[in-house]
Symmetry: C2
Subunit: 330 residues, 2 copies
Amino acid sequence: MKAFALTLLASVTLSCARAERVTSDPLQSWNEGPAKASILSFVARVTTAGGPDFVRPAERIATFDNDGTLWAEQPLYFQFLFAIDRLKVLAPEHPEWKGREPFASLVKGDTTTAFASGEHAVLDALAASHAGVTTEEFEKVVRDWLATARHPKTQAPFTQMVYAPMLELLTFLRANGFKTFIVSGGGVEFMRAFAEETYGIPPEQVIGSRGKETLEMRDGKPVILKVPGVEFIDDGPGKPIAIQRFIGRRPIAAFGNSDGDLQMLQWTCSGAGARFCLFVHHTDGEREWAYDRASSVGKLDKGLDQATADGWTVVNMRTDWRRVFASEAK
Amino acid sequence: MKAFALTLLASVTLSCARAERVTSDPLQSWNEGPAKASILSFVARVTTAGGPDFVRPAERIATFDNDGTLWAEQPLYFQFLFAIDRLKVLAPEHPEWKGREPFASLVKGDTTTAFASGEHAVLDALAASHAGVTTEEFEKVVRDWLATARHPKTQAPFTQMVYAPMLELLTFLRANGFKTFIVSGGGVEFMRAFAEETYGIPPEQVIGSRGKETLEMRDGKPVILKVPGVEFIDDGPGKPIAIQRFIGRRPIAAFGNSDGDLQMLQWTCSGAGARFCLFVHHTDGEREWAYDRASSVGKLDKGLDQATADGWTVVNMRTDWRRVFASEAK
């Protein structure tokens, strides 16, 4: 009995040592500084039972933009690169695309000429690349693409171009009772194909833009077919609306990197009680890309002004992040 | 040390005894019979690690209709009764409703005359009763109504007219790693006002019909305003579409009571692997209400045929449920 008790105590001690080691720095890819300190302080405040800022776990909702916040978005949104590849695959079945813009240029990968047809026409063409398959077939198409496609600059698989500090942040928040959601302008079914494996975020916690779909019977069984047309754009003012629709509860923390996230952060930080808003500022032209107010992708202009005025956290990627991509050695 | 070890062992034994007692019959409001047996058997199969039907917890999605499945829906959907009460409150601000149908009759509670204007006109009028307030104001309106309104027949608060066997089922599924969702034709924000407290289902797991909304700035802060108009009807073929939109994963179990749930059950039970579909059949005219193929509320006709043909579980409320309402003594 004594031996048993000792073994038991030893294993308890061991578990505590392990827990100590793991939790000693949950944000090890973050350099010490105001950004990291603001995260640690906020989480401590809302999780301190009996404290003035305590928030019960069910209300610890945190929402994250995806492109430029959880993974890179240069030189173009990755889903845009997927859509171009998909148009190339589908082109032989669509002789009508030949000579018709913006399809003809997109299939050639010439986005400059394609955009001369107007942004709306390009978006319609990209939406066409996502249609004509069932939702389950589409998931497989995305998974297959992610398994083989490589980023044009780094030659890395796209799912390795996720930010190590943000992965740690997701894990840290969840370990503290938060429920983490993606709320992104990206297509919801594109993101769901990798969000669970890559971010630990299950499909029901991924909110995004979406195309139209219909329910059809095939051989007596229902299928959900993706059809042409855009149903909802989850960007700008669409983000608080989508949060209300899908979550029905105002987040207490929100994370973005562009003006498209501004309304989500405003919605989050104008609620009562302790709130946390953070912009990732792309300042690292060497390890990643440097862009903000003048960028066509991930423009951060008004957001930067409001973050400064309201004291939101702005991550200086160059100085705040010890490591950028999850694929880099620790 | 020995005393410590003994105390420890004693407390382990006590915990096990307590667990034993709680799990001895997780469905105590269900009579023994094929319905109860089918639930227990399904849950055992999908949770047996290493078994042929094992489903990992992340994929244990269960969806429940609300009206007629989790709580009663007679003599009218409870939200309909709420909307009529709300129209009465709002009527003084809307002199234009006087003499205008279906408003005039609805405000008088005369639904028969109101429906002579057509179902669509009535739905529009009911939608008007939900508009003109922010989402947060609306939640308070619903909570206040639920706290004071009484059911016309039983005089019970509406949140006590939930089915005890279904509450046990929700708890039992969650204890077995399931994530439980509401997927109902009812208004999502109406249901969210009580779903967490009444069913243990947080707002982000409540899917329903919804009106339109807009994001507005008030005193420099964003609010989400409910405006007239219906955005989405979560009924019939809308249910699988909504499940795909919100959950992005096909449920392995679905629970309904009417033909409006049929497509949800078809979508659920036509997936690969172990699946479970159940209809609550309202057969108890004494303790509740008896209705099915010819009812204007909660019509169950085609669903009953397919349930029989496909071997889905059909709950005979009169014989399968020992207790109906949560408010009854155990």
